[in-house]
């Protein structure tokens, strides 16, 4: 049952991609951890919307399932866990920045330009991967990485990784409507184990160092 | 190789070398307004020493004992090499100018070791100075010899003898070889053959521990070396009168002219000795360097001016 014609879907997805791009950029100057986690949830919502557009346009049950999963994981579970962790470790709410907001923002915009420069000219117009979708996904990856490297707290780095994965997710949703089943399962397991392992190591670090400021992790040099 | 010439050379060296030294000494004395020793005095000395008892350092070894013989033999061999009466070397085919230099080095090496053998510190001092001068003389000597060898294309001693024509190159080479001759014969301004003062002596320092027969042989050998060096000047630069064929008359003329040239060169040496003072030891390298430079200039002028006769 197709409820949306392709052209409308494309226009909607294009808009959503731009909005996602805006949230990614918006996360750069944010100083409060809580706000940046909320922004992540907002990104999740936009991703869910994108998934919904795809679902309406294709009508496949798989796609509807994806919408539900997105809402659950990207909007509720992951931000929830992060907020929980934020309370648990009782760190200062303010994030220490390695770079003042203004130049950081300029650099982030530079990264977006790079993304457009590289991915813009590719022939991707057929299907749901609209003109802005691929560059937006790429930008989200790069900007996510960028937020990791300007922030000092271990938790904010995890936030960055999640932001990067949101970029990947956008790509998955609009370009390929998901991965082959085996791969999708593998990726999911990896993600789960990854979170687990990071949690284990972070806990041990917290126990040993009494801090998760990564600037304390600088004894191994040269 | 020519046996007759060889024996002539050997005989001349044995007999005339001490005489030549006597002449030089007399001439020096004359120029200094002294009445010098008789011309035969070197001969008398050698004769006397050969019969005297020899005193040997208690630290010395067989090197001390045999070095004088080798010194004497090597110089005598060198004397056999140089062309004297005729324009060929008596030992042509057996050795050349480089061999001549080698023989002189061999003799010096033997004497230097003998001087160290006694444990006397005068020996060490003499060795140190003599070997230093020798090292600086050798390039000058070799370059000068090369400048003579280039036109002939050969280091054969007979080939170095020119036809007596005068050229820039020859004059420069003569200058170089003359300085070498002064140094090699141990004369002022390089060394002083008459002194036994530790501040000044080089060659004599090495002889200091010798007495008796070995000393006699060493003196004799030194005289022969002087003769060899002067013959090396006489032949290539003043070839007039040298026999170009081996028959009686030219040889006789050669003998006469050879003896005359020796006396004249000896007088020149004496003149230089009388007119100069001994150089400070560390000025000597400059003099010897000048000799090398003269030799190189001689070579240059061969190529630029167009050769010597």
């Amino acid at each position: 049952m197709i409820l949306l014609d392709l052209q409308t879907a494309q226009r909607l997805l294009d808009t959503l991609a731009l909005l996602l791009l805006a949230t990614a950029l918006g996360s750069v100057p944010i100083r409060r951890m809580r706000s940046s986690i909320r922004l992540l949830a907002g990104q999740g919502l936009l991703l869910a919307a994108a998934a919904a557009v795809v679902a309406l346009a294709t009508g496949s049950p798989h796609a509807y399932f994806a919408v539900a999963l997105t809402v659950a994981v990207k909007v509720l579970v992951v931000p929830g866990i992060l907020l929980y962790a934020l309370r648990e470790v009782r760190v200062k709410r303010e994030m220490e920045m390695g770079l003042p907001p203004r130049p950081a923002m300029l650099l982030a915009i530079g990264l977006v330009i790079v993304a457009y420069y590289v991915a813009g000219p590719l022939r991707t117009m057929d299907g749901f991967l609209t003109r802005n979708a691929l560059p937006a996904a790429l930008s989200m990856l790069l900007v996510g990485l960028f937020t990791m490297l300007i922030r000092k707290k271990a938790l904010s780095q995890v936030v960055g990784i999640v932001a990067m994965e949101n970029g990947l997710y956008l790509m998955t949703v609009v370009a390929t409507q998901g991965l082959p089943l085996a791969v999708e399962m593998g990726v999911a397991i990896d993600l789960a184990v990854g979170v687990l392992v990071m949690g284990i190591v972070a806990r041990q670090i917290h126990r040993t160092f009494d801090s998760i400021n990564t600037d304390h992790l600088q004894t191994l040099r040269g | 190789m020519n046996l007759a010439l060889l024996f002539a050379n050997l005989g001349l060296a044995l007999v005339a070398a001490p005489l030549l030294n006597g002449i030089i000494k007399s001439a020096k004395a004359g120029w200094q307004n002294r009445q010098g020793p008789p011309i035969l005095q070197p001969w008398f000395d050698i004769w006397k020493y050969l019969g005297r008892e020899s005193v040997v350092s208690q630290h010395a070894s067989w090197i001390f004992r045999w070095a004088p013989y080798l010194y004497f033999a090597a110089h005598l061999a060198a004397a056999a090499l140089v062309p004297t009466l005729a324009v060929v070397s008596p030992l042509s085919g057996m050795g050349d100018a480089i061999v001549l230099v080698g023989l002189l080095a061999l003799a010096r090496f033997a004497l230097a070791l003998a001087a160290l053998d006694t444990a006397s510190n005068f020996g060490g001092m003499g060795t140190s100075r003599e070997m230093t001068f020798a090292a600086l003389v050798e390039p000058a000597l070799m370059i000068a010899l090369f400048s003579l060898a280039i036109p002939a294309g050969s280091t054969e001693l007979g080939a170095l003898v020119g036809d007596g024509s005068v050229s820039i190159a020859r004059l420069l080479a003569l200058g170089a070889l003359f300085i070498v001759a002064i140094a090699e014969t141990g004369r002022i301004p390089v060394d002083n053959p008459d002194t036994h003062l530790e501040l000044t002596m080089a060659h004599e320092g090495m002889l200091l521990e010798y007495s008796g027969r070995p000393l006699g042989l060493l003196l004799w050998g030194t005289h022969i070396k002087q003769l060899v060096i002067l013959s090396l000047l006489a032949g290539p630069f003043f070839p007039w009168g040298m026999a170009r064929e081996l028959s009686a008359l030219p040889i006789a003329v050669g003998l006469g002219s050879y003896l005359l040239k020796l006396v004249l060169l000896g007088l020149a040496l004496a003149l230089v000795e009388s007119a100069n003072v001994k150089l400070r030891i560390f000025r000597i390298p400059e003099l010897l360097g000048a000799a090398s430079l003269l030799g190189l200039l001689a070579v240059t002028s061969i190529y630029l001016v167009g050769g010597l006769g």
Binding site: - | E53, S61, G93, A105, G124, S154
Partner: protein, 668 residues
Amino acid sequence: MPNPDIRLYLAPVAIYLLGSLLALAVPKDRGRLSHGTALAGSLLGTALALRALLEGTPGRVASFSVAPFATLSLRLDPLSAFFLLVISLIGIAASLYAVGYLGSEHGSLAGMGAAYNSFLASMVLVVMADSVFAFLFAWEAMSLVSFFLVIQHHQQNDVRRAGYIYLVMTHVSTAFLLAGFLVLFAAAGSMDFGDLRLAAARLPALSRDVVFLMALVAFGTKAGVIPLHVWLPRAHPAAPSHVSALMSGVMIKVAIYGLLRVGWELAGPGPAWWGALILTLGAVSAVLGVLYALMEHDLKRLLAYHSVENIGIILMGLGAAFLLAALGQPVAAALALLAGLYHVLNHAVFKALLFLGAGAVQQATHTRDLEALGGLIHRMPWTAATFLVGAAAISALPPLNGFVSEWLTFQSLLALTTLGFTAGIGGVAAAGLLALTGGLAAFCFVKAFGITFLGMPRSEKAAAAREVALSMRMGMAFLAALCVVLGLFPTLVARLLAPVTVGLVGVVARPTLSLAPLPVPAQGGALAPLALVGLLAALFGLALLLGRSIGGPRRSRVAPPWGCGIQLEPSMQYSAAALAKPIRIIFRTLLRPHREIERQHDAEAAYFVSGVRYEAGIHPVYEHFLYAPAVRTLLALAQRIRALQNGSLRSYLGYLCATLVVVLLLTR
């Protein structure tokens, strides 16, 4: 070919390798077994080399594929055979000597025996290598095993340092060699020397120049050409003496082989400037090498610097050969090659002899410091006599072998003078420098022999010295005899070298060397050492006769030497430093000597000097101005780059981000 079984030519290498295994398998062996095996290998190698040179060489001996692109090919041509001869001859003496010498070494000799045998094997393999891979393989193996021999006494800091500098310099030089080889390989598409030779002929001149320069740096380093020599005076003395003999006598000659093989046979002989460059380097190395030797008071370091000098002399001959070949004078080039290669053999013989002698002195006195030696001729007559032969030979005194090769070198330089002004002046200047070198070398060995063996012993240790073991004396006597034989029978060596010069320039060198005086005066200067010795002996007899007939029977008595009236003490003797002092002053601009005198005054009466500390030496110019700045710069740069790994995860993420961005931008 007259050799039905070419595999026989592999036998020396096989025997050496067997010796290595034996040494490891029988760790209790005190060197007899392993060095006995090495002796057998060397004897066989000598026989095979002589046979190959006299009866014709077998060509390709073996080929073994390590990997599809890496083939170990071996070949014996006249040039290889000649160097095989050099290696094997010295191998005989060093192995013989080692049997007695190693008796005093502490600890297990298994490693030493294995390394020693492998060292000989690797050198043989280098000269037989016929492919790039084989050459580099053997070349590096040679450096590696000799390194292990050098650091035998590794507890001493300076030994380790010597080993480090040695191996690093030779490895870096191998890198140059590798580059040179690969330039040829790129053109040939094959690693076989035969193919490289063909390809080199088609290469543009610039490429061949590159190959030549790379080879020159590489082999120059190994040979110890100034200023690439700094490892040599450290490493050679650090090794046990029979190894020093091999390193100084043979290994650096293997570099000369390499220069001829690569610079001449594969890529050359090249334009005239190659020869001029070699000649210049040779002259510089010869003069500076002997000057530094004169400044040394460590017997083995002194000998090591003489290796630098003699490599210089060899290179003067070879440089003249390159030059003459480039200027179209094959006959004269053959003569110059003969001169250089003859000196290769000669230097191998007398330098090995001298190092063995130094080892004997060290074993007997436990010191190498000249200032602590003296008077050994009375206690070690055999060592003294053989050392004297070596000293006279290296000082180029007739009628020993050093004189013959220097004579040939002078003749080659004279041949240059027929080729116009530049070559002529260069030749004469080189001859002058060669003469200077000869004079200084004679001085240096008067010092080395005189201070070590003559006079009074300058220390207790020297006074208590005893003559060394029989096998050591045999090793030295063998080499001393060779010095004489090679000096008296030059025609023999010329005959052995005839196929070598034919292989490289196509003609046989015909210097007027003879055993008997020639009936006709020769055109280019002639040398008949045997006749000359006859004459010298006759005149020596004449001197005896004259003395006796004029003076009667010999009379002598023994007395203390004249000491100006005071009792002579050993410390009053002229010291090695004092002996060489005039040279230090005359050449001070080159040598940059320094001196420090510190007087301690008596506490109560300041007039009295209670002690004097005197320190003198020469500034290590190359280390100071060439190597130290280079190393400093490199290390400073490294430190700066190391700051990149600053421990900050955010920096690392930044690198990741930047890398990605850069690569992405490159993608478009």
